[in-house]
Amino acid sequence: MTGPVPGPHPEPGDLSAFALGLLDTGQAGAIARHLEGCAVCRREQEELREMADMLGELPPELLLDGPPEGGDLLLARTVRQVRGEVGGRRRRRVLAVVAASVIGIAAAIGGGVLIGQASRPGVESIQAAGTRVIDGASGAVQMKATVSPAADWVRLAVTVSGVPRGEHCKLIVVRKDGTREVAGSWTVGARGETGGVTVNGAADVPIDQIASVNVESTGGKIYVAAVT
């Protein structure tokens, strides 16, 4: 240190607060004046500032903790994909065959019985823009349907809870003209009743032609409907 140092050295915490821009104008001015005449503190401050700048470049969302909001379906899909890989039951998607009116794809989380082909939904391709989420509730039965448009058809990911265990269910897409497509079927397991089951399917219905997505028993009883 050579030459007169203007005033006592600031506390380390004040240097740091200065580097982080936390001080009010008066305090910051005093530190700045000291730094002009004190090479030691200036170097220290520059190092602190460098770290502060690095932190400032970190995208703030990377410091968020916890689960995402409204991510239940995402979690269910991820768990199902892992289960599928654990069981070594990876099945090819058959969605190219959209000429068929029905592509029954049902995968039951929570131990339901699989009917038709299970698939790893939405993994191979990015979900289309224009995805809609529609909800339905009827008594204890609740559903949330995520409907993604494809060329002239839709992919569906539907979470259903409250349907009694053992019940055979069908996922039905009802067109505005009243005609219906079966998009999947499954049997409700113990955990499907309470915790909910996520069913994936596809239907040969343009998204703007959908009147509702229903969960029905094989006997035709409508458990719940999500109306667009």
Partner: protein
């Protein structure tokens, strides 16, 4: 719960929010971002060894994977434009800035370095930096005097710097 499921739940509960927010910003599309996060968590499940590191290191790994998935998909889509009708998988992906790869390296390094901080020190930086709190607000949120916030911020920045100079030799390479 099965161990595989427990692992998925744990990653989702701890990192899901950060990952989804990050992927949503990069893709500009929540549905596409959810796909990316799903695939990212599945890859973590395939490589459980990465989860044994500190939280920041784990998050840095997840962030890198998510970013790679996004860039792979953007590349795949532009390489095969004729394969599907334009609307079929027509997701809007916000252009990723050219220097984004460097940014990711820097972010991963900082996240990793934050593992070296004590909870008190990291807490101060989180309040100030990532919640944008003033000195007084941070002090109130943490229940400590403002002077303590200042001194903790000092030791936190010093510890970060020490950690980074140890691991990289110089901070220059880190900032890329």
């Amino acid at each position: 719960m099965h161990a595989d499921e427990a692992l998925v739940h744990a990653v989702y509960q701890e990192h899901g929010r950060a990952l989804l927010a990050y992927a949503t910003r990069l893709t500009g599309d929540r549905a596409a971002a959810e796909d990316v996060v799903q695939e990212t968590i599945v890859r973590a499940w395939r490589h459980p060894e990465v989860l044994t590191n500190g939280k920041g290191s784990t998050r840095g790994w997840l962030l890198t994977v998510a970013r790679n998935i996004i860039t792979d998909r953007v590349r795949a889509r532009s390489a095969r434009p004729q394969e599907v009708p334009a609307e079929q998988d027509g997701v809007t992906v916000a252009p990723i800035e050219r220097d984004h790869a460097d940014q990711v390296v820097a972010s991963v390094t900082v996240l990793k370095a934050m593992d070296s901080l004590s909870d008190d020190h990291r807490g101060v930086l989180e309040e100030i930096y990532f919640r944008g709190r003033s000195l007084g607000e941070a002090a109130a949120a943490l229940g400590v005097p403002a002077g303590t916030v200042k001194s903790r911020s000092y030791y936190a920045l010093r510890a970060l710097r020490d950690h980074l100079s140890e691991t990289t030799g110089s901070t220059k390479g880190v900032r890329a």
